[in-house]
């Protein structure tokens, strides 16, 4: 029963705290969240007369009908087509239009990435908050130091700050880079540490937030792949230890 409670608590927490981040809405071209993009897209479709640009209209139509994944795939194809056209065509108007289209696509990608970042930061922040509440209830030796003294609660606070920075597009400044690095280091150390003596819920609260933080904090794909591999082995060992 304890296991069930832990999982139910985790899932409920995720659902409750994702609610505010607007991540359940599908970002199509007629979505509420990007009205500006929709207006720009419609104007570009009307001005395009080229043969290749029929694709754009079709994809635009497809985006409205189909969901998010096809949208992104079509858009990536479209950007490649636009790049080819830029090489071929020499007339000024068309290249301007293409440039506008690629810019639009970049904006869309950035908006999606920002959304994911905010979501991830909020999720990991609340996961750390849950972990600190768990440790607070559990108590133990010097538990206040282990929660507030550079522990789970501090990390939750910093992740909350980083979420605010992501909302205001300020993550590029030195302050937030520094905070991000320190958090990645903390999460990495938490992943390395053995969790032998803890129970299942303790392990979950010890490793789970760190996994979320690592995935969110590391943006480079190569490092992300390494981290995923590492986490995969970590999970195997975790399962092995719990099954004993």
């Amino acid at each position: 029963m304890v296991f069930v409670n832990v999982y139910a608590y985790a899932i409920g927490l995720i659902l409750v705290h994702l609610h505010g981040t607007n991540c359940f809405s599908v970002p199509t071209s007629i979505g509420r969240s990007n009205n500006n993009n929709k207006a720009a897209l419609s104007t570009t479709t009307t001005t395009f007369l080229n043969e290749g640009n029929v694709i754009l209209r079709r994809t635009n139509y497809g985006c409205r009908c189909i969901g998010r994944t096809t949208n992104s795939i079509m858009l990536s194809k479209l950007s490649a087509a636009a790049a080819e056209e830029e090489e071929e065509n020499t007339e000024e108007e068309e290249t301007e239009d293409d440039a506008a289209a690629t810019e639009l696509l970049d904006n869309k990608k950035l908006a999606g990435r920002k959304k994911r970042l905010i979501m991830g930061y909020q999720l990991s922040s609340f996961a750390y908050l849950a972990a600190s509440s768990f440790h607070l209830i559990k108590g133990g030796n010097n538990f206040l130091y282990y929660i507030f003294g550079g522990g789970t609660f501090t990390v939750a606070g910093i992740l909350y700050i980083l979420k605010g920075a992501a909302q205001n597009d300020r993550l590029g400044s030195d302050t937030y880079k520094r905070l991000n690095l320190s958090i990645i280091f903390y999460a990495f150390v938490q992943q390395i540490l053995p969790a032998m003596g803890l129970g299942l819920s303790g392990k979950l609260f010890f490793k789970g937030p760190a996994i979320l933080t690592l995935i969110n904090g590391i943006k480079v794909s190569f490092f992300k792949m390494l981290a995923m591999l590492f986490l995969f082995f970590r999970f195997i060992t975790l399962n092995f230890l719990t099954s004993k």
Binding site: L144, Y145, A165
Partner: protein, 158 residues
């Protein structure tokens, strides 16, 4: 990949440059940064001795190594917070909501550290007691700074 390393290099350089700037208004934060930085360096040194120069008399266990590593990461976190606050204080940015929250976080962290170390005040004299006094002073300072900048921010909004 290359952007990451150039970013890291620039960040380290700017951090080292920021450490050379000493102003009277950010004296408390400098003190805190130096204190926590020295503590984390001591932890790193202990870790290095355990890993690379293990003593034959009392062999180190994995538990010792991992506890040092864990403490190093927490102290590094606290050092980062205090250095960020020092940087903000140099640039007169302490009224931003980020730095108010960071002030409260630092106050909590140092207060919990004081509570953690307080049982050993009477037993071991000297450096540890001084450390506790310093930490409690910096904790109080960050708390007051956070409250005052919060008030100033509220006043300017109204």
């Amino acid at each position: 990949m290359t952007t990451v390393f150039s970013d890291l290099k620039e960040g380290i350089l700017s951090t080292l440059q920021g450490l050379t700037v000493i102003r009277a208004k950010s004296a408390g934060y400098i003190l805190g940064t130096v204190m926590l930085g020295i503590m984390s360096l001591v932890k790193a040194k202990e870790l290095c001795t355990m890993l690379f120069v293990p003593s034959t008399v009392s062999p180190t266990t994995y538990y010792q190594i991992f506890s040092r590593l864990s403490r190093l990461s927490r102290l590094g976190l606290m050092t980062t917070i205090l250095y960020t606050l020092k940087d903000a204080s140099d640039r007169d940015r302490l009224k931003g909501s980020t730095f108010i929250q960071l002030n409260f976080l630092a106050a909590g962290a140092l207060l919990s550290m004081v509570l953690y170390l307080s049982p050993s005040i009477g037993k071991s004299n000297g450096p540890l007691t001084a450390l506790i006094m310093l930490a409690s002073g910096i904790s109080t300072m960050t708390l007051c700074q956070g409250v005052s900048s919060l008030k100033a921010k509220n006043n300017s909004e109204q």
